[in-house]
């Protein structure tokens, strides 16, 4: 076996063949180069009459030399649109500048079809500087035009898709807003002598939140039930859980207005609906308001929910701690803890979800927390429900990016006696 020898022969054969190609090129006549160039050439008199044209362009247009030379003007070779553009823009500019390059025009072939071209023209002048004739090169832009059209088509398709996506997004946002609203009371009931206010902060218009609250009469004007809570997770599944939670709590309270029993009923309902592999739970505060003279007795039970806050008429602030209350719906036999509080004129009870206390604030994303909330409330106290909710709504919007969770707020209070007095005098 001998090694292949072709490698050393290769260059030896290559040099003469390159030389042959070069000499063939050198023998190429200028005339042939003009006639068979890969672009069209034509020369016209200053009035546009074609004086000379190469075979390439004649071939593209399907015309014979006799039909064109001395008989047609350059503009006769163009489409109507092209002619118009030529007369109004191309020719005047060319006369002014003496050169014009890369202009897209359309020529008309003998068969009647259009030929998109790119035109470059130069005015040849006499030694005295008088314009003599116009030399023009014509490039076939069919491929380029097709490419541009494809680009345009793709762009139009993308625009359409974007518009459609925006419309879909808007429809989705509207549907979600309607669904979200359906999980909250349209208005809070009017309770004579009692002031109420609620607020729902939506973190994202495209993500259904899982916070909820409600306040409704139990019997007549004297007893009302309320609840506020937060289901685990986000999105449609959270909304379904919220719906189940809300209607279960409402029905339970109407059946037996005992907050601990109501949370137990909810625990049973959620455990029944969601299995151990897929636990779904909520944290909730449920309670009953009962009028007693000029005070309001509140019984309130909590299941794993942040403690309610009372803003006293004397400026004091206290959390209603319910230690030991467990998440609702996560565990069989969950314990719930009840507290009682009496609201006097000027007192306000505030319920909130952890979007408020778990918000991250400042450059170091510090937990907002219970102490900050208590201080904020102390700065407001004494304050009625509307003022408290307005101030908290403002506080929440001030959190900006630090608040990435939905937040529900509900406040119930008795107007201060002095308030009423001053209003009466006014």
């Amino acid at each position: 076996m001998s090694p292949p020898t072709g490698g050393s022969d290769g260059p030896g054969r290559g040099v003469p063949s390159t030389r042959a190609a070069f000499s063939a090129l050198l023998e190429d006549s200028a005339e042939d180069l003009y006639e068979s160039a890969p672009c069209g050439y034509l020369s016209t008199l200053m009035d546009g009459t074609v004086a000379k044209v190469n075979a390439t362009l004649l071939n593209w247009l399907g015309l014979s030399r006799d039909e064109v030379v001395g008989r047609m003007r350059f503009s006769d070779l163009l489409t109507v649109g092209g002619r118009l553009y030529h007369e109004t823009h191309f020719a005047p500019l060319l006369r002014m500048q003496g050169h014009l390059g890369g202009i897209a025009l359309e020529m008309r072939t003998a068969q009647g079809s259009r030929l998109p071209v790119l035109i470059t023209s130069t005015v040849k002048k006499t030694d005295d500087g008088e314009p003599l004739l116009i030399r023009t090169t014509v490039f076939d832009a069919t491929d380029r035009r097709a490419y541009e059209q494809e680009l345009l088509r793709a762009r139009r398709a993308a625009d359409e898709a974007r518009k459609q996506a925006e419309a879909d997004r808007e429809r989705l946002r509207e549907a979600l807003a309607v669904l979200q609203q359906s999980l909250l009371p349209a208005t809070l009931p009017d309770i004579p002598g009692v002031e109420t206010a609620g607020h729902y902060h939506t973190a994202s218009p495209f993500q259904l939140g899982g916070d909820f609250y409600d306040l409704f009469p139990l019997d007549g004007d004297d007893r009302f039930a309320f609840f506020l809570g937060d289901v685990c997770g986000k999105g449609p599944q959270a909304a379904a859980l919220t719906s189940l939670t809300r209607y279960t709590l409402r029905a339970a309270a109407l059946h037996d207005p005992d907050p601990v029993t109501n949370l137990r009923d909810l625990n049973t309902a959620l455990l029944d609906r969601y299995t151990g592999d897929d636990p779904r739970y909520c944290t909730a505060v449920a309670g009953v308001l009962e009028r007693a003279g000029d005070t309001l007795n509140v019984r309130l039970a909590s299941g794993g929910h942040p403690p309610a806050l009372v803003l006293r008429g004397d400026g004091g602030v206290e959390y209603l701690s319910t230690p030991g209350g467990m998440l609702v719906g996560a565990l069989p036999g969950a314990q719930f803890v009840q507290v009682r509080v009496t609201l006097r004129p000027g007192d306000t009870l505030l319920l909130y979800t952890d979007g408020l206390t778990e918000a991250r604030i400042g450059p170091h994303r510090e937990l907002y927390g219970y102490e900050a909330l208590a201080s904020f409330a102390a700065s407001l106290a004494p304050s009625g429900p509307h003022r408290v909710i307005d101030a908290l709504t403002e506080l929440l919007s001030g959190f900006g990016d630090g608040l990435d969770d939905d937040t529900a707020l509900l406040a119930v209070g008795l107007p201060a006696r002095t308030d009423t007095g001053s209003r009466d005098r006014a």
Partner: protein, 112 residues
């Protein structure tokens, strides 16, 4: 947001899962899967080391509860180890401190 890292290691009493980073709705399934893969025999302990858990949202709590339910129904036990102050606060708030066995160190497990 930090990513979630779950590292499993064996201890005499059972298995330790170190749950580090942020446990939230984007990755809570990962914890459930890790726990399912362990297939702990009955009577053994699953310890979740939470010392490096920096954030836990409601989906994270759901995963912890789901893991507990799964292990307990298979006859095992769940222990939460080295729970950070913030996590301890949330466990207390949600009453889950009554449900989970919470211990300070993993060392206790090795003595069992």
């Amino acid at each position: 947001m930090k990513s979630l890292t779950i590292t499993a290691s064996h201890a005499p009493a059972g298995l330790v899962l170190e749950v580090a980073g942020d446990l939230d709705h984007t990755n809570a399934q990962q914890l459930r899967h890790s726990a399912q893969e362990t297939a702990l025999p009955p009577g053994r302990l699953l310890a979740m080391d939470l010392s490096k858990l920096e954030f836990c949202d409601s989906s994270g709590f759901t995963a912890l509860i789901a893991v507990r339910n799964q292990v307990v129904s298979a006859g095992g036990e769940v222990v939460l180890v080295a729970v950070t102050a913030n996590m301890r606060r949330l466990l207390h708030l949600t009453g889950l401190d009554q449900v989970f066995d919470i211990r300070d160190t993993v060392a206790l497990l090795t003595d069992r």
